[in-house]
């Protein structure tokens, strides 16, 4: 039986009165990897942010469900605690807050209990070595002075520790070199079997490492075409213009 993680129904979203998403439907089940591709401004990041509950976006029509529950009443942190995770395209800098402290407190909030000292350190060390992150990361301030690649690795590290049921990855592959891309993909592949994954990307190259079940092409706030991995290749080769034609 299918285990539904995310269901988006006829979603319309605006920001400051401008419609961005204009009637979007999407269902993601546990174990499925979905990829959304599209031009800049198509509404891809808006979708990820609105699912996570960003207050700047207004849902004007339609609904979002997480594990069958409507999300509208849930605050952002409650969504996180329920098992949703967003890997940010541009993660915020939190000056003066050490990564180690931040991770521990975040895990404590999401798991609703303080992680046990030794067990948590082991878990953390394992996850970090998997992502080829040096221990010195832990004493740095959250995202302060981080390179693009370091930021993305920290996002994936958080995902591994928080073990979400729904992972939204917003251009996690942007700005990564080949090695970083491989490492980040490893993290995604580890989470994917137990979660529903939504990957937003411009490029096909991530898909050399992560095998999606569905690829969606998004244009002007709606999904205009859905296919398998071959669609990603086609979009990269042909661009989006051929999809602009009315069906």
């Amino acid at each position: 039986m299918k285990d539904e993680m995310l269901r988006v129904e006829n979603l319309h979203v605006s920001v400051e009165g401008t419609a961005i998403i204009k009637g979007l439907d999407l269902t993601i089940n546990r174990g499925e990897i979905h990829v959304i591709m599209g031009r800049n401004g198509a509404g891809k990041s808006t979708l990820a942010n609105v699912v996570m509950g960003h207050p700047a976006y207004e849902i004007t029509e339609g609904s979002i469900f997480f594990q069958g529950q409507p999300l509208e009443e849930l605050a952002v942190f409650e969504r996180a605690r329920a098992g949703m995770f967003l890997s940010f395209q541009y993660p915020a800098v939190i000056p003066g807050v050490q990564v180690g402290t931040f991770l521990k407190k975040s895990v404590a909030s999401v798991r609703d209990e303080a992680p046990k000292g030794r067990a948590f350190r082991k878990e953390l060390t394992e996850a970090m070595s998997q992502l080829e992150m040096d221990k010195s990361f832990l004493s740095r301030y959250v995202n302060e002075g981080f390179s693009g690649g370091e930021k993305k690795r920290l996002e994936i590290l958080q995902m591994l520790l928080l073990k979400p049921s729904l992972a939204l990855l917003d251009e996690t592959d942007s700005g990564l070199d080949i090695d970083a891309l491989r490492i980040v993909s490893k993290g995604i592949n580890q989470i994917a079997p137990q979660a529903g994954c939504l990957i937003i990307t411009h490029y096909q190259r991530l898909l050399d490492h992560v095998k999606p079940h569905f690829v969606h092409a998004m244009i002007d706030g709606t999904i205009v075409k859905t296919g398998g991995p071959e669609l990603a290749l086609e979009l990269e080769e042909r661009g989006y213009d051929w999809l602009d034609m009315p069906a």
Binding site: A75, F77, A80, R81, A92, I94, P95, S106, V142, L162
Partner: protein, 468 residues
């Protein structure tokens, strides 16, 4: 009092008070007789009585300071304050002998526990006088003197007479005159040459009675080549009427000495906290003020350093947190009087719920002081639109060789930061608390661990109910 003010009082976790069991309590109000009575009660030498009386007359004649929030100062009613209150007949060396209600207070504040764990000595002052005092034996054996000021005057009158009022004369300002007239309690420390005091020594000041005035007087002399870290904490119950805390702290760092003086004041929001703190640093000496201002109604405090000897260094790191109905008017003053002296000033402030924080600084380089360096950094974080932050830096530079840097920033918590943290499971209050703790981190990392943890908890509590 409106509902919000009540709510703010409820937030303050040290706002409890004990029954007032004074053994001696003076009537409210101030006169020359009150000053003489305090001196007589303490059985002081004549020179101290004379100094008090002179200071009192100066206080009477002296105008309010014009540096700081002068409008709020005018609302102090000096006649509605109790100037002396003795709550225990002697200073105990054993916590067990301290009267139960006072002991319970300090237990709730965690002082005896801290002493066992990480302090070289403790003095606990309740109202006007110390009720408990102890110092580690090994420090005493090395000749370190750590006493409450009253006992210091009794047992080391020549040393006190030599240095008392030399850094901050009674005529410095109206409040130093007031303190000199009615001072009681405080710490007296002398560290002999070449002694490194490894563990911090701590003083804890607690006001318990209503309309109380606490006027402790601290004098610290660290002789050549020695080091000392002194820590102080302050709390008071929350009353609807005002109390006054007006201390004078004088530090003397002899050649090559190092003094670090750390304060976290968390007075309740009915306390006027008007403190004069100044240090003299001789050749190659270092003085560090680490100054945290979380509580009080109005704080006016500008820890100062006179860099008198060549190569001396001053460090002033301060944080201020101004919540509802609070004005933290704080800063630093550094006077470069000798060549090749250096200073760093870091000031960080947070304003919330209509609170106001001001940085007021003075940096002076005298004409003969060549080759001086100074860096001043002021960062303000404003949590909502009703709050305020100002910066009043004054610079008097008399020597063109000085190398000076000044940076100032004002920021707000961004919605991106909040959304990011909330997406990681933090509620809005928790997210604010984390951002605030992070903002103060350059200060907290300078505090002893135990203090830092306590301060972080305190700030997190302050953030509760701060949203909306």
């Amino acid at each position: 009092m409106n509902d919000d003010a009540l709510e703010a009082v409820g937030d303050y976790r040290y706002g409890f008070h004990d029954p007032e069991n004074a053994t001696i309590r003076f009537d409210k109000g101030l006169s020359e007789q009150v000053v003489r009575d305090i001196s007589a009660l303490k059985d002081e030498p004549q020179w101290m009585t004379d100094l008090r009386v002179k200071a009192y007359r100066h206080f009477e004649a002296r105008a309010m300071p014009d540096w700081g929030n002068c409008n709020l100062l005018d609302s102090i009613n000096f006649e509605n304050i109790t100037y002396f209150l003795r709550s225990s007949d002697k200073t105990e060396k054993d916590w067990d002998n301290v009267p139960d209600d006072i002991k319970n207070t300090f237990n709730r504040l965690g002082i005896p526990e801290a002493e066992q764990k990480w302090l070289g000595g403790v003095t606990a002052q309740y109202e006007s006088e110390a009720v408990y005092h102890s110092i580690r034996e090994d420090l005493e054996e090395q000749g370190v003197i750590f006493l409450d000021m009253d006992t210091g005057l009794k047992t080391h009158p020549e040393l006190v007479k030599k240095f008392f009022g030399t850094v901050i004369p009674h005529s410095d300002n109206k409040f130093s005159a007031l303190n000199t007239a009615v001072w009681s309690g405080g710490s007296f420390i002398y560290v002999p040459k070449n002694v490194q005091v490894e563990m911090p020594v701590q003083a804890y000041f607690r006001i318990n009675a209503k309309n109380m005035g606490q006027f402790e007087r601290t004098l610290i002399i660290v002789d050549e080549g020695s080091t000392l870290h002194y820590v102080e904490g302050c709390t008071a119950p929350s009353y609807s009427t005002d109390s006054l805390h007006s201390a004078v702290v004088e530090l003397i760092a002899m050649e090559g000495a190092k003094i670090r003086y750390s304060t976290v004041q968390n007075w309740s929001s009915n306390v006027y906290n008007l403190v004069t703190k100044r240090a003299v640093a001789y050749k190659n000496a270092t003085v560090e003020w680490v100054d945290g201002n979380i509580g009080s109604k109005l704080t006016m405090k500008y820890p100062s350093v006179l860099l008198k000897g060549e190569g001396a260094h001053a460090e002033v790191i301060s944080v201020a947190y101004a919540g509802e109905g609070q004005h933290q008017d704080t800063g630093a003053k550094v006077h470069h009087l000798a060549p090749n002296t250096t200073s760093n000033i870091l000031s960080k402030s947070i304003s919330k719920k209509g609170g106001r924080s001001s940085y007021r600084g003075m940096l002076q380089v005298m004409p003969k002081a060549t080759g001086c360096r100074s860096k001043v950094v002021c960062d303000a974080l404003i949590l909502d639109d009703s709050s305020r932050s100002d910066t009043y830096p004054t610079m008097e530079i008399g020597n063109a060789t000085a190398d000076l840097e000044h940076e100032a920033s004002v920021s707000k918590v961004s919605s991106d930061q909040l959304f990011y943290l909330m997406s990681r499971g933090f509620s809005e209050e928790e997210a604010m608390g984390l951002i605030v703790n992070g903002f103060f981190e350059p200060f907290t990392r300078e505090l002893p661990m135990e203090y830092a943890v306590e301060l972080n908890k305190l700030l997190e509590l302050e953030m509760e109910g701060s949203i909306g």
